[in-house]
């Protein structure tokens, strides 16, 4: 197969390949955006969960300290 002729697209290379390039870009973006969003969400929620778990533990230990004092 003659690659040069293939890429030249009979003189319409700019139009044809720009069209295909834009399509590829939009299609990839529409898959990647939700994937990245999910990863960010999971990271954020995990951080929140460990923080609240840590806070609860802290709270509990303070409570036991207080009861011991009494």
């Amino acid at each position: 197969m003659n690659w040069q002729a293939f890429f030249a697209m009979g003189g319409y290379a700019f139009y044809v390949w720009t069209a295909y390039g834009v399509t590829l870009l939009v299609l990839v973006a529409n898959i990647m955006i939700p994937v990245v969003q999910r990863k960010q969400f999971l990271r954020r929620q995990a951080l929140k969960l460990t923080r609240s778990a840590g806070a609860a533990k802290h709270h509990r230990s303070r409570q036991t300290e207080n009861t011991e004092e009494i």
Binding site: V16, V22, I33
Partner: protein
């Protein structure tokens, strides 16, 4: 998911091989017509996804099914993407063939309105904090916009337009040669699979965002922590 991706890749490879390499150049348009293999399937998808979105919206509206609401809103950005592709590739095809990037004729204008409808749906959904209320508002907007779908489809018959008439979706035999038709149908099918893949990805994050305070999401996240 992996097998969906596999089917999509195979269909796209076959469609592009057939369309860009095997199919002969058009006797009038030379090689520029090869834009058809993304332009037409994208335009079909832009209409198809809109109908799915409106139908899912209606189901959510009537039966209050959360999954239908999620399918509806998750479809919007994908549909907007295909509408954008149809417009841009059409423009890139119009310049060498019609001598202009854009004309305000019925087909092009109604497709542009479709893009605005999609963007309206996305914007409206984002503007309302309560996502169940947002889903209802979006469903009504989507249903009103359905009127645009037959207008787009029949625009090339109802009005004089630069845009050519249908060559595939008509009742008598398609007026396109089979060597050009097969890759076109392969690409149309491949875009359907793409929609399914993109929809699942969108729906996943949408569901997580909506249910972030639910116990099953918390369990899933704490399980992921330990792993």
């Amino acid at each position: 998911m992996p097998w969906l991706l596999l089917v999509f890749v195979l269909l796209t490879a076959a469609g592009l091989y057939g369309g860009l390499y095997l199919a002969p150049p058009d006797y009038q348009q030379g090689d520029s017509y090869r834009i058809i293999y993304i332009h037409v399937p994208s335009a079909w998808m832009s209409l198809f996804i809109y109908v799915v979105m409106a139908a899912a919206g209606a189901i959510g509206l009537v039966w209050r099914i959360k999954l239908a609401e999620i399918v509806a809103i998750s479809s919007a950005p994908i549909g907007a993407g295909f509408t954008f592709i149809a417009l841009v590739t059409g423009s890139l095809w119009g310049k060498p063939m019609w001598g202009t990037w854009w004309v305000w004729d019925a087909r092009l204008t109604s497709e542009l309105i479709l893009l605005f409808l999609y963007l309206g749906v996305i914007g409206l959904y984002g503007a309302i904090d309560d996502k169940r209320t947002a889903s209802r508002a979006v469903a009504i907007l989507a249903l009103v916009g359905v009127v645009n779908i037959p207008i787009i489809h029949y625009s090339v018959e109802w009005w004089n337009t630069l845009h050519q008439g249908a060559t595939v979706t008509k009742l008598d035999k398609p007026s396109i040669h089979v060597s050009m038709l097969i890759p076109l149908l392969l690409m149309a099918l491949s875009f359907k699979f793409y929609y399914l893949i993109a929809l699942l990805q969108r729906a996943r994050i949408e569901l997580l965002l909506r249910e972030r305070n639910a116990q099953w999401v918390k369990n899933m996240i704490s399980l992921g922590e330990k792993r």
